[in-house]
């Protein structure tokens, strides 16, 4: 056994070597699936560009221009090759902007939303879990799990609409819609736009954190010898919870961070539309509705990469932190 630093590097390398090929398969699979949906299912691109009335000649010309007459497999590999060299194509819809530009603009709001949503969810989940275990009161515990049930049973967009309505009609507060860039408009403006949407996302995210963390805490307190020892030494339960069990229970949270990323990216789609945030969700939704194939392909692939990378980071964090994973060979 070498020094701990080298061990960690080695463990992380091993995880990365294991994971990266799998990730590539998943991302490529996602793009194939999207390609199939976009190209095989009815919805005709020519029809959606040219509208109701068009001549056959114009349609043929457009099909040739978009290479729609080539076999599907050829078209997929052409797309893949071009994307790998950084050319994501241009939007089929006027004003025919480069897809890469569209995505570049949409990425930051979504990233910020998901990160803040996770953060709110994590803080709320951990806090409530500790309260419900440390209070040792059945009523508190029930109330907290009831709250979690409510939040996990209301669709995100309903929560968004209700929150907006409540703010506006009862508190006379209007959450500013849209998005402000932190670089051009300043962080204060940025936060005021992003606060409510990320709270809604956080409420959607926290029940999973709460459940897992609470279950781990209870298990630690029930089963682990160090808890018994600490109690025998006369340390009050509250102290045991805060200074021992919380730290040892936090690994489960890492897993949930990974799982929740995919969920939140899904939830973000609707939240962005409600709060008029020009992120990836709005971009992909509009592209899907208007059959803008290049934007859909690129958008979905980027989202898939985002989800997969988030899960890789979680695995790497495990390798870094958990001695059981780190020392496994």
């Amino acid at each position: 056994m070498g020094e701990p630093g080298a061990d960690r590097t080695r463990a992380m390398l091993r995880v990365a070597l294991n994971r990266v090929p799998q990730m590539l398969v998943v991302v490529i699979g996602c793009s194939i699936l999207t390609f199939a949906v976009v190209n095989i299912l009815p919805g005709d691109i020519v029809h959606s560009i040219l509208g109701e009335d068009y001549t056959e000649a114009a349609a043929d010309q457009l099909r040739a221009q978009l290479h729609l007459n080539d076999p599907l497999i050829v078209r997929y590999f052409v797309w893949l090759g071009e994307s790998l060299t950084g050319d994501l194509g241009t939007s089929l819809l006027p004003p025919h902007v480069e897809v890469a530009d569209l995505i570049g603009r949409a990425l930051l709001p979504t990233l910020e939303l998901v990160v803040l949503g996770q953060l709110f969810g994590l803080i709320l989940g951990v806090l409530l879990a500790v309260v419900s275990v440390a209070s040792r009161s059945r009523v508190v515990d029930r109330v907290i799990s009831g709250f979690a049930l409510v939040c996990s049973s209301i669709p995100g967009f309903v929560m968004g609409i209700l929150l907006l309505g409540l703010l506006a009609t009862q508190l006379h507060l209007v959450s500013p819609l849209g998005w402000a860039s932190p670089f051009t408009d300043g962080w204060g403006e940025n936060l005021s736009h992003i606060l409510f949407p990320s709270i809604v996302l956080g409420l959607f995210a926290f029940p999973l954190f709460l459940r897992v963390f609470r279950a781990e805490l209870v298990e630690q307190l029930d089963r682990e010898d160090y808890v018994v020892l600490a109690r025998l030494k006369g340390i009050p339960m509250r102290r045991v919870v805060f200074s021992h069990a919380v730290r040892n229970s936090s690994f489960g949270l890492l897993t949930i961070l990974g799982v929740n990323t995919a969920r939140l990216v899904g939830g973000v789609v609707v939240i962005e539309l409600i709060f008029s945030i020009p992120g990836m969700g709005s971009l992909v939704t509009n592209a899907v509705i208007r059959h803008d194939a290049p934007t859909v392909m690129a958008g979905v692939s980027i989202v898939a990469i985002f989800v997969v990378v988030a899960n890789l980071l979680v695995d790497l964090a495990y390798a870094l932190l958990d001695p059981r994973v780190r020392d496994a060979s």
Binding site: Q22, L33, P155, I289
Partner: protein
């Protein structure tokens, strides 16, 4: 690993072994009052249904049953008007108006009829999509667990793909390209619920695939599909069905989100999702138009979640 809080509570007395008194004061006092022929006749059933008569199961099941019955029988029994043929002059009537007990929406449609018929559609989509996910997901998951080499690995990568895909985007794409309709909504949501069932079915299959009875069935030369259907499925069905309840709630949420985006159930067919979506503009004038379908959606999804939790706890206890 069940993460439910009910794990930590003491299990209620088993009805089959508890004294008649305990039984009589239980959740189902009426059913067990006095010993009768039914007791012995139901003995086997009771043993099978052990733990099914707890409040944790009965309450959400009763709420669900009530909602389903109201939605599917209510419109006929109450003689409600068609949900989409309101009179524009009667728009936005408040709750308790004569002839419209729950008022009307902005187009003068009767809200009670809208909610109940909309419930039919929402429940239909939830259950239909879950059935698609269940059948395909369990088939893929069982095969992946049974044939662990090339076939299994390939199938699992396919599942990984669906799993990494933000479900709503996939459903959105499918629905957008197929065109909005009830059936297409079911397919779109059903497709992405495959992965969840697949994971569970595979994990459960892996647990039992090397047990003696499966090995024996395999060794006797039975074709794989008979082993899977006759020996594997009956032994993994518990957790899979418990998950199915969550999946129904989840599919109903997805329906609501899709309809909200205009890609789910198309108007004038009502669904809880599109009622909420089309009432969004009236949140200040008539918040009840949003609150009522939201409440029904919430009650249904919360009941399926609670039921699934309770069923899982029963299994793991």
């Amino acid at each position: 690993m069940s993460l439910d809080e009910a794990d930590l509570r003491e299990e209620p007395a088993d009805p089959a072994t508890a004294s008649p008194v305990t039984r009589a004061v239980g959740t189902d006092a009426g059913a067990w009052a006095g010993r009768s022929w039914r007791d012995s006749a139901l003995d086997g059933l009771r043993r099978r249904g052990r733990g099914l008569r707890r409040p944790a199961v009965v309450v959400p099941a009763a709420i669900l049953a009530l909602i389903v019955l109201a939605c599917f029988l209510g419109p006929a029994v109450l003689g409600l008007p068609s949900p989409a043929t309101g009179n524009l002059e009667d728009y936005l009537l408040p709750i308790g108006s004569p002839g419209h007990p729950l008022g009307t929406n902005a187009l003068g449609n009767d809200m009670l009829a809208q909610l109940l018929v909309g419930g039919q559609i929402s429940i239909l989509v939830g259950v239909g999509a879950t059935l698609i996910g269940l059948v395909l997901g369990v088939a893929i998951g069982m095969i992946a667990g049974y044939r662990q080499r090339v076939v299994g690995a390939t199938l699992m990568r396919f599942m990984d793909v669906i799993f990494a895909f933000p479900d709503i985007i996939l459903a959105l794409a499918i629905a957008a390209y197929l065109g909005p309709s009830v059936v297409n909504t079911i397919w779109a949501i059903g497709f992405f619920s495959i992965a969840g069932f697949g994971r569970i079915a595979r994990a459960q299959t892996l647990k039992i695939v090397n047990l003696d009875y499966v090995v024996a069935a395999r060794a006797s030369g039975r074709p794989a599909w008979r082993v899977l259907l006759g020996h594997v499925w009956p032994n993994i069905s518990g957790p899979v069905l418990a998950y199915a309840f969550i999946a129904v709630g989840y599919a109903m949420m997805a329906e609501a989100a899709l309809s909200f985006l205009g890609l789910g159930v198309p108007i004038p067919t009502p669904s809880w999702g599109n009622i909420i979506a089309s009432s969004q503009g009236y949140i200040t004038v008539a918040p009840q138009l949003i609150l009522m379908p939201a409440l029904l959606l919430f009650a249904t999804i919360a009941s399926t979640n609670l039921l699934s939790d309770a069923l899982q706890t029963r299994r793991s206890s």
